[in-house]
């Protein structure tokens, strides 16, 4: 019996097949990527490029824009309102980073000790976070009124939002109040993943509750803490809604941060080009923060 030899595929046809496969896979990957890319290009990249362009112009927010070089950036450096706003951002950052984090950790630890009704507490902690900022802010505006708010009934009559010395701290208090419960629930979830045997071992070694928290809980939730830390930094730099609703950055700029100043410049002062320059400056600051975070992460800070 004779057999007909099957011709071996030539090198060229194998290469063509592989190329077709690569092309097919490439097209498929693009098909998955395109919707999100288009969305991002439209709502992020496009306006971002426009913002870079406008930051070098005298654009009023409507109509044509004239190129003015670095004038907006030079003016921003000289502008005392920008300096004040940056200082307020720094104060905001320190408070927003420390108070809700500390309260969140404490709340999470207390939650982890509760054996009954834990879900009820979690829901209660979460309510301020899921309530719309407009509602929270409007509510607290009334609660902080010197004539009819909490202070009035406690006999202080202090105008928390109307006093330049307390306006920023008062708004920050409200934001911290809305935020800490969320952090508590996140930390609580992270604490659940800590190996219980570590606590048992610590107890055997004679560690008290604080030592257990410091030496077992905190290291165990380190990646979550670092992530929350980073996000809190970014969120603190973006602070806008509560300040805008509760004080508009006032009185007399005492609670103004960069984002509210940008809004005011763009829409009240018809200086959208200047506002764009302020926005770009904030982007650079946030970029530096992210770069530092990435650097530390590479160095194993999260481990």
């Amino acid at each position: 019996m004779t057999t007909v030899p099957v011709p071996a595929p030539s090198r060229t046809s194998v290469a063509r097949g592989r190329a077709r496969m690569r092309l097919r896979r490439g097209l498929m990957a693009w098909a998955f990527l395109v919707p999100l890319l288009v969305l991002n290009v439209l709502v992020v990249l496009g306006p971002s490029i426009a913002t870079v362009y406008y930051s070098f112009t005298d654009w009023s927010g409507i109509g044509p824009a004239n190129f003015i070089g670095l004038d907006n950036y030079v003016n921003a450096v000289k502008d005392p309102a920008v300096r004040d706003a940056l200082l307020h951002n720094a104060i905001w950052f320190v408070l927003f980073l420390s108070v809700p984090m500390a309260l969140g950790l404490l709340g999470a630890y207390l939650l982890s000790q509760v054996k009954r009704f834990a879900m009820v507490f979690r829901v209660l902690y979460f309510i301020p976070y899921v309530t719309a900022s407009v509602v929270n802010a409007a509510l607290w505006k009334m609660l902080l009124s010197p004539d009819s708010g909490i202070g009035h009934y406690l006999g202080t009559h202090h105008a928390w939002l109307g006093d330049t010395a307390t306006s920023l701290y008062s708004v920050n208090f409200v934001v911290d109040w809305h935020w800490w419960g969320f952090l508590a629930v996140i930390f609580f979830a992270a604490m659940q993943s800590v190996d219980p045997q570590l606590y048992d071992a610590a107890k055997v070694d004679g560690a008290n509750k604080w030592q257990q928290f410091k030496s077992v809980t905190l290291p165990g939730i380190r990646p979550t803490t670092i992530f929350i830390f980073l996000m809190t930094i970014i969120w603190s730099l973006k602070a806008f809604d509560y300040i805008y609703i509760m004080t508009h950055g006032g009185p007399a700029g005492s609670s103004e941060v960069i984002s509210t100043l940008m809004y005011s410049q763009a829409f009240n002062n018809y200086s959208a080009g200047y506002a764009a320059a302020l926005g770009m400056s904030m982007t650079v600051i946030i970029g530096i923060v992210l770069a530092v975070y990435s650097f530390l992460r590479k160095k194993g800070w999260e481990e």
């Binding site: 498929m28 990957a29 990249l45 409507i62 109509g63 010197p146 004539d147 006093d163 009185p251 829409f267």
Partner: protein, 465 residues
């Protein structure tokens, strides 16, 4: 494993190029500013965004304005979208810049409309004005305020003035008379404060620009309309002592606790609370615009839990150089047509109906106090008898003021945009001692000079000799 399907460098390069391409289109469009609208057929749907709040007010607009128009013009359908006042301007401006937005633009005041007009986002209304003879129907001064470079950019929406609302029952019970000059006003304020009654209620919590209402009062009734006219036409500067002293006088009233009890309370007590206290009689007077007339009633009477009544009086003369019965005049907002609208004729038809049907316009003024006070020419005798006497008195007093030349200038109509913003933002610094009245006026003068040299001023309502 075969090689990666998309090379990372190529992916980034492609995304970058696509991004630039997509971004360039709106960017160039934004810079272009060319009109792409059409006159349309004079029929179809006309979109309008407006800042009318409250169910009753919106129902009135739907039924008595839009409904009445559609009945008279069955081929045109009006589609109204309601926005909150402080949000509307930014939303409209953003939409106009993107060559989008409503057909009829509920615009800002005269000076800000200049910026929109310069950007070519508003259609020229001059041909419509000629076609329907709007010049004979609307007040000349109000039309001129919205005419730039010979083009009518918008139609004035509401005549604004400042007045003093007072708790009539409280005044009667204390035997107080309406003050007509500064010494009477200060004596009244001193007496009220001594009794634990706040003389003046005011707050910037719900409207950040509230301070400009107060500056309008003090500059018009202390410095005087003549001085203001000279400053606004560049003959004198805002650093003149007559303006600085007005700021200092207002600040001194705040420092005495006459306004809202304290500076801090002015910054923190919501206006509804001030209104409630006004109704109860723990606040004696509220310096406010005529628009407040549509809200003030809610704080009085059985619904508010009191038996008190309100009324209003002219702002007392705060200087011997200013006549009692002077009214600061201006325009609160405007109606224009989007230059990108595809249905400009139908939009203009609505405007013509709104301003041209005098009987309907006067009825609206009578139905809703102060809200629909468009600057049309009419005689006092034409005001419908159904009008609240207090609202009717505003109309007759303003007619008289215009005829006699006894009028001044509100900041939000006659000041250029940045200067106007500084009027209220800077005054917060004066109140908190971060700036002296002299520094405040110096900064205002600098800003005003810069803006007026750019041609950002409306045609001023001239003084009558």
């Amino acid at each position: 494993m075969t090689g990666s399907t998309i090379d990372r460098r190529h992916l980034l390069a492609s995304v970058g190029l696509a991004g630039l391409g997509v971004a360039a289109a709106p960017l160039l469009a934004a810079c272009g500013g060319s009109s792409s609208g059409t006159k349309g057929t004079g029929t179809g749907t006309v979109n309008l965004w407006i800042d009318i709040t409250g169910d009753a007010n919106q129902k009135y607009w739907d039924d008595s304005v839009v409904g009445a128009f559609e009945k008279a013009n069955p081929k045109i359908t009006m589609k109204t979208s309601y926005y909150k006042g402080s949000d509307l301007r930014t939303q409209v401006q953003t939409a106009l810049q993107a060559r989008s937005g409503p057909d009829i633009v509920r615009g800002p005041s005269a000076t800000q409309t200049i910026a929109w007009s310069k950007a070519n986002v508003l259609a020229d209304l001059t041909p419509y004005s000629k076609q329907w003879n709007w010049n004979s129907k609307l007040s000349d001064w109000a039309l001129k305020a919205f005419t730039f470079n010979g083009k009518l950019a918008a139609l004035p929406m509401r005549v604004d003035t400042m007045m003093i609302y007072y708790n009539k029952t409280l005044f009667a019970s204390k035997g107080w008379k309406q003050p007509t000059n500064r010494s009477e006003l200060e004596a009244l304020a001193t007496e009220a404060a001594g009794m634990g009654i706040t003389p003046f209620g005011s707050s910037n919590v719900d409207w950040a620009a509230a301070a400009e209402w107060l500056m309008t009062v003090f500059w018009n009734h202390f410095s005087g309309p003549d001085a203001l006219y000279q400053a606004l036409t560049g003959k004198i500067k805002f650093t003149d002592s007559v303006f600085v002293d007005a700021v200092a006088l207002l600040k001194s009233y705040f420092d005495k606790g006459w306004f809202s009890g304290s500076v801090q309370k002015y910054f923190s007590v919501p206006s509804a609370e001030i209104g409630a206290n006004f109704g109860k009689g723990t606040v004696a007077m509220i310096p406010q615009g005529e628009w407040y007339m549509s809200n003030v009633g809610q704080f009085f009477g059985a619904k508010a839990g009191n038996n008190n009544a309100w009324d209003w009086m002219p702002v007392p003369s705060l200087s011997s150089d200013v006549k009692y019965g002077t009214y600061a005049l201006g325009i609160g907002g405007s109606f224009a047509i989007n230059s990108a609208s595809k249905n400009q004729d139908a939009a203009a038809a609505f405007l013509n109906w709104y301003y041209g049907d005098r009987t309907a316009a006067l009825k609206r003024m009578a139905d809703v106090p102060a809200t629909y006070n468009i600057p049309i020419n009419f005689k006092d005798s034409e005001i419908p008898s159904s009008a609240d006497p207090r609202a009717a008195r505003v109309l007759t007093e303003l007619n008289k003021a215009v005829d006699s030349g006894n009028y001044g200038y509100v900041t939000w109509t006659w000041w250029p945009p940045k200067s106007d913003t500084f009027v209220y933002q800077g005054f917060e610094k004066v109140l908190t001692n971060a700036m002296t009245p002299a520094q405040y006026c110096q900064q205002l003068a600098d800003l005003f000079k810069q803006e007026s040299s750019s041609g950002n001023l409306p045609q001023m309502m001239p003084r009558k000799s």
